[in-house]
């Protein structure tokens, strides 16, 4: 087997690096040579995150490559980012939107990267048991709650089944949706006040929910924000129109108006 070049791309925070690290370690345990390189921009969170993984039978020396053999795309913004890193021979797995499938299996949205890992693993010459062992060890080392570890394991297995069913031909990277997170604003109002959020700017930080003096705000998992995570929603009956949420929202996603 020649050097197999795997390029993973997703939003910072989607867990792209975790996938890369697990593949790297599992490949090594599986008797292959493997080298992994993370790549991200200056932001701690929110830039597009890339992970380069190479798997080979012969020794590997250079951590970076230009054209991937297997390209995985997890978010719309990656499409532009990876445009120079694949050619006609690259197998592309377009997993944008696959987070939705987690709900069917009652899995937390935080396990999306393990679902992706499951799908990807179907296209790699790595033993399932070794990957599971590696991912469990990794999550346990992070001191994550046992239920979440088993959720992650379940997500992986669900992903693997999905991977088996995916067509073997390459996916397209034509994404008709908007890559800039434009979403419709959502409004709640009554005769005294008006509360509006722009979910496309909500990063799910939770400060508004925490600071609301009348506990009118909560998370709505049905409306995803910048990273696909739940955004704020308002119980207008409890809202007193004070506008503190508007003031403390770091992205200016919320607007509150008192009516005369």
């Amino acid at each position: 087997m020649n050097n197999l070049k795997v390029l993973l791309s997703g939003e910072g925070g989607q867990g792209v690096q975790a996938i890369g690290q697990i593949l790297n370690e599992a490949a090594t345990k599986n008797g292959f040579e493997s080298i992994y390189l993370p790549n991200f921009g200056v932001e701690q969170r929110g830039g597009v995150s890339l992970a380069y993984v190479q798997i080979s039978r012969s020794p590997l020396t250079y951590p970076k490559f230009k054209i991937a053999d297997l390209l995985i795309v997890l978010c719309p913004r990656s499409i532009l980012r990876v445009k120079n890193y694949y050619n006609g021979r690259t197998k592309i797995l377009n997993l944008i939107g696959f987070e939705e499938k987690l709900k069917e299996h009652e899995l937390s949205y935080r396990t999306f990267n393990m679902l992706a890992l499951g799908i990807i693993s179907e296209f790699l010459p790595l033993e399932k048991e070794i990957i599971i062992e590696t991912l469990v060890k990794k999550f346990q080392a992070k001191k994550i709650l046992p239920e979440l570890v088993s959720q992650n394991k379940k997500a992986f297995l669900v992903g693997r089944v999905m991977g088996m069913r995916l067509p073997s031909r390459t996916h397209s990277l034509d994404y008709k949706g908007d890559t800039k997170n434009k979403r419709d604003k959502i409004t709640f109002e009554d005769d005294k006040k008006h509360w509006q959020i722009n979910p496309g700017h909500c990063k799910s930080c939770g400060i508004c929910v925490y600071r609301c003096p009348s506990k009118a705000l909560s998370f709505n998992p049905k409306i995803g924000g910048v990273y696909g995570m739940p955004t704020s929603t308002c119980d207008i009956k409890r809202c007193i129109g004070c506008g503190l949420c508007e003031r403390v929202c770091p992205e200016g996603a919320i607007e509150v108006k008192k009516k005369k």
Partner: protein
């Protein structure tokens, strides 16, 4: 036009002001200190000039950057350890194509060394910092040339937007001699980069991807290569028929010139710009000679630059290196 009797450092100040230099940020360091103190004196008497003494050379360099972003011809002067500290702001100027002007008076190094003289800051001034060395470096070899080239330093910086330096040394800085002070025919215009009310600019020096940076670098490198033809400069003495040619720059070249005048078959090739280097002309003369001798007050910093240009020729190549020492006829004669 006026004839004055000045030290090399005093010449810098007159030339800087003649070239439109209005602001100086400085920190005293021998042998450049008089540039700073002279300008400070002049600034007290002339409202149009502004002098700021900063707490160190790094702040001096960044102060210069701030001022030239505002459209003022600002400059600084330093040498030795101060030149090292200056590389932080110079790198920023290099990256962001800012017309940074610096006067460097070389002293013995590394570290504190001597406060006196050397030609050991060639590499540092040409390519210190974490970039590709897209800087223009003028190497004067006389006090008159300090006047002429200081003016050129300002003009070149503002015309082409690369950090530009006058690479002087401690001997020339402190020597006193007759100099012709004149008003230059041409001084470059300025424009402010920030604070123009007609448009908003957001300027950065950080990039997220390798390719983004590479694109900017490629453009800057292309620009630099393009201007090299206009800017690269040199002088020769008796090179056409001499069997031996001495290659030297700065005041070492001045010493060699005296030696060449007394020897029949010895000529001198003197680059006036160390960067961009006058490659093709240097190569042309070097090819014709039987032997070339590279003379410098360093352990090979100038020779390395020269070898870049002379790659491929088979002329005998000798190096006469005197790190941190002056060049004297009696000693050089033994080699010739």
């Amino acid at each position: 036009m006026e004839t004055k009797y000045l030290t090399g450092n005093e010449v810098v100040v007159d030339a800087a002001i003649a070239a439109g230099g209005r602001m100086m940020f400085g920190y005293p360091i021998t042998p450049s200190t008089e540039i700073t103190t002279e300008f400070a004196k002049k600034a007290e008497k002339n409202e149009r000039l502004k002098f700021i003494q900063t707490e160190d050379e790094t702040s001096a360099g960044f102060g210069v950057i701030g001022a030239l972003l505002g459209g003022e011809k600002a400059f600084t002067a330093t040498g030795g350890p101060g030149n090292i500290l200056m590389q932080d702001p110079i790198s920023m100027a290099e990256a962001m194509r800012l017309p940074f002007v610096g006067i460097i008076t070389q002293r013995g190094g590394p570290s504190t060394g001597t406060v006196i003289y050397s030609q050991q800051e060639v590499t540092l001034t040409c390519c210190g910092g974490n970039g590709e060395g897209l800087r223009v470096v003028y190497s004067p070899s006389s006090l008159q040339e300090i006047y002429d080239l200081t003016i050129k330093t300002f003009n070149t910086a503002w015309k082409y937007r690369f950090p530009t330096f006058l690479l002087s040394d401690g001997y020339m800085a402190k020597a006193r001699q007759k100099v012709e002070i004149y008003r230059p025919q041409y001084i470059s215009t300025t424009k402010h980069i920030l604070g123009d009310a007609r448009k908003i600019v957001n300027i950065r020096n950080t990039y997220s991807q390798e390719e983004e940076l590479n694109e900017i670098l490629s453009e800057n490198i292309r620009d630099f290569e393009h201007i090299s033809r206009d800017i690269a400069d040199y002088d020769t003495y008796k090179c056409t028929h001499s069997k031996t040619i001495i290659f030297a720059h700065g005041s070492a070249a001045a010493a060699c010139l005296e030696i060449c005048k007394e020897r029949k078959n010895v000529g001198l090739f003197r680059p006036i710009t160390l960067q961009p280097f006058p490659d093709s002309q240097a190569k042309m003369f070097a090819k014709r000679a039987q032997k070339i001798i590279v003379v410098e007050s360093s352990a090979g910093q100038f020779s390395r630059l020269l070898k870049n240009s002379l790659y491929g020729i088979s002329t005998i190549y000798l190096e006469y290196q005197r790190p941190a020492l002056g060049i004297f006829e009696e000693e050089l004669a033994r080699v010739l």
